[in-house]
């Protein structure tokens, strides 16, 4: 099979770019720990009230400025529907679903992941600006999907 000289240049440039992109992604992921949310913990989605972690969802302080927020997504709300943390806190979100597939999304942040029933998904975010943050569900979950939201109050 004959490859034209220009085609070789084109392919070397193209494949070289792809290798470079992949290397950037790989180093960010495996050397710096910027992984996509891929938590492996499991729960019984139909009996969350008996679950050790999710029977009482809400915010717990871990240390000075670190918090853990356990939240249940359900059609068409989050439980709890409002949480409050001081500015500068790092929050570890642990989210699960009580019914269908949802998402947990804070627009214009990197917090945007799927919440599938039976699984717990998590991600962390540091809130450096005070204000009332909007959380929405961006996975279709039924007729009231566009009403599904909660707030994170980041106080001074």
């Amino acid at each position: 099979m004959h490859l034209h000289k220009y085609e070789k240049i084109w392919l070397v440039f193209g494949i070289g770019s792809l290798v470079l992109f992949l290397a950037v992604l790989g180093v960010a992921a495996f050397a710096f720990g910027h992984q996509p949310p891929s938590h492996m913990a499991k729960v019984d989605s139909q009996n969350l009230d008996q679950d050790v972690a999710f029977s009482e969802p809400g915010v717990t302080q871990i240390n000075d400025n670190t918090y853990q927020a356990r939240i249940i997504a359900q059609a068409f709300s989050y439980k709890p529907s409002r949480i409050e943390v001081p500015v500068g806190s790092t929050v570890y979100f642990e989210i699960t679903s009580a019914d269908v597939v949802h998402s947990f999304t804070i627009p214009e942040t990197n917090i945007n992941f799927m919440v599938t029933p039976g699984h717990v998904n998590m991600a962390e975010h540091t809130f450096n600006e005070p204000g009332e943050y909007l959380v929405i569900c961006n996975e279709y979950c039924g007729t009231g999907h566009h009403h599904m939201q909660m707030r994170i109050e980041v106080t001074e």
Binding site: L11, L18, L25, Q35, S38, M40, S45, V100, F113, G118
Partner: protein, 569 residues
């Protein structure tokens, strides 16, 4: 051997082409696919219009019509029904043209496939209209539609397999009757596309028949949610290549003839299609990067494989533009880019697919961004993604298919492709591009600002972040709606073009353009035609990419999910 890139004696050549008509019985089989495709298209277009206006808050839908119901119809009718029926119609016509008339037995199998697909489409559409299936075209469980919705989808897939059996048998009969000869490019590419479709369809068929249907019928209580999603995306990504590959076929096989030249290289074209076949399946996790239950390592492995499938697109871009330049230069085109003027810009058979190719430049770049592992968090499930696939399938594939329809429909109905049809086609293409610029452009930007996809009109309690999605100068739901209105006008014009070419244009002959064999045809390496080898490698790649994570999903599954069918009504 003829070293020229031009089809010498083009007059005789095209006469010759007109003489090799597709058998009238095969034309009829092909044409019935086109009727379904374009009826689905026009209904789907109006679904899109209502969505755009409702989402922008410009109209309120009547109480008997749900936003998500229209969204389901729009996705199913355009992404599944229009594409699948058009592609099979195109395959039957092209295989009849390049490999001779179908035998009566094979044609009957083709009809059986068509009727099965049509029955499935009608059942599915009725269920959507009855609001029993507003689960969107991805039908993620544990939202549950009426069991007949799943039955209908299964029939569409099974019908397409029956039709594939007729097409593949026709190809292999030709191969047997012509031992040692390279197969016509059209048949080679059809075969690669159909093998991809069958192997991919096994995933969604398994999920529907063994998991979802028994659960929807009440035979099982629970469903393994993560496994259904994984099997769906095992199918869902090759699905997009099932759309793209026939569009590439038109670029490789048809366009060179339309511009009066011949394809640059046959081997490279075949190599590109083999690479699509190999690498478009073991990559489904890049649609699931943001979900739990699949480890980072397996997601990354499939991300790497996803990037590999960019290579045949690079090959294609080179081949097509090399064909353009060689043809233009032999016709007297000069200068580094001055030769571009020589291309037939006034011929919609070239112009529409060319605009589709242009759209693929930002579309492909956007695709690489989407597949970029942790970066996906920025765009996942936002309007960015919707903007992306309205460029890929909604512009590149559709404009290419439209560009083919202008000659294919009259060739099938024994009519002439007239100047009037050409003019309407050029206007249609411009309208489509302008509408898409506004709609897809605004969707991309809104996505970066976090606006969710698949969501009805909502201001989230007038939260400032949500309000800005309506207030941007360009990045606004209003821009999306304006683009949608322009696209609807373009869609109506396309439907008119279809009706005109199918029923109104003057009787006569229209050329079915197929490129003369590229110069390297006698030197095609034999291994490229070794289908057993390629299917073997496909299976090995799938086993490699999926066995361990799927095993974990099954063995280490959490308690399953009961049905939630009350949430969709």
């Amino acid at each position: 051997m003829n070293q020229s890139n031009l089809a010498i004696n083009s007059l005789n050549d095209s006469d010759n082409n007109i003489n090799v008509l597709v058998d009238p019985k095969d034309r009829k089989l092909s044409m019935v696919h086109m009727y379904v495709a374009f009826v689905a298209f026009i209904i789907g277009v109006f679904g899109g219009l209502l969505q755009g206006l409702a989402r922008g808050g410009m109209i309120e839908l009547p109480s008997w019509l749900g936003y998500y119901q229209i969204l389901t119809a729009h996705g199913v009718l355009l992404a599944l029904v229009f594409t699948t029926f058009f592609i099979y119609g195109f395959f039957f016509a092209g295989m009849g043209k390049t490999h001779g008339a179908f035998s009566n037995r094979l044609r009957k199998i083709g009809w059986a496939g068509y009727i099965t697909m049509l029955a499935g489409t009608i059942i599915t559409t009725i269920m959507i209209l009855l609001n029993e299936a507003s689960v969107l075209y991805t039908f993620y469980v544990p939202l549950q539609a009426h069991s007949l919705f799943y039955v209908g989808l299964t029939l569409v897939i099974v019908g397409s397999w029956i039709a594939s059996a007729a097409l593949l048998t026709h190809y292999f009969k030709w191969k047997k009757a012509n031992p040692g000869k390279p197969t016509p490019l059209f048949g080679f590419m059809t075969t690669a596309t159909l093998i991809l479709w069958i192997v991919a369809g096994l995933g969604v068929a398994t999920s529907v028949l063994y998991q979802i249907l028994p659960w929807a019928l009440g035979l099982t209580d629970e469903v393994n949610v993560l496994l259904t999603r994984t099997l769906f995306w095992y199918f869902g990504h090759p699905l997009v290549y099932f759309w793209i590959m026939p569009a590439y076929m038109i670029w490789y096989v048809v366009i060179p003839k339309v511009i009066g030249g011949r394809l640059f290289s046959s081997s490279l074209a075949r190599l590109a299609f083999i690479l699509f076949l190999l690498f478009s399946i073991p990559v489904g996790f890049h649609h699931q990067l943001m979900e739990s239950g699949i480890s980072e390592l397996w997601k990354f492995i499939q991300t790497v494989l996803t990037f590999v499938v960019v290579v045949p697109s690079l090959l294609t871009a080179f081949s097509i533009f090399a064909t353009f330049e060689q043809t233009a230069r032999e016709k007297g085109g000069k200068g580094i880019i001055g030769w571009i003027k020589t291309l037939p810009w006034g011929d919609v058979r070239f112009f529409a697919p060319f605009m589709g190719m242009l759209a693929f430049i930002p579309a492909g770049a956007g695709g690489i961004i989407n597949a970029s592992f942790q970066l996906n968090a920025v765009v996942h499930n936002t309007l960015w993604v919707v903007g992306h696939f309205h460029l890929t399938v909604g512009t590149t594939v559709l404009l290419t298919f439209f560009g083919a329809a202008y000659w294919l429909i009259p060739a099938l109905t024994g009519r002439r492709f007239t100047k009037h049809a050409n003019r309407c086609g050029i206007v249609q293409t411009w309208l489509w591009m302008i509408g898409m610029f506004f709609m897809s452009g605004a969707m991309h930007l809104l996505g970066l600002f976090g606006a969710p996809r698949r969501t009805a009109y909502a201001t989230y309690g007038d939260h400032p972040q949500a309000l800005q999605w309506f207030e941007g100068i360009f990045a606004s739901h209003i821009t999306v709606a304006i683009g949608g209105v322009i696209l609807t006008a373009a869609g109506v014009l396309m439907f008119y073009n279809f009706i005109y070419l199918a029923f109104r244009a003057p009787k006569g002959n229209t050329e079915f353009p197929i490129t003369p064999d590229p110069d390297d045809t006698p030197h095609i390496p034999a291994f490229l035609e070794n289908w057993k080898l390629w299917i073997g490698i496909v299976i090995l790649l799938i086993i490699f990419a999926y066995t361990i994570p799927v095993y974990e999903m099954i063995v280490d599954a959490p308690p399953g999910s009961p049905p939630f069918n009350f949430l969709i009504r």
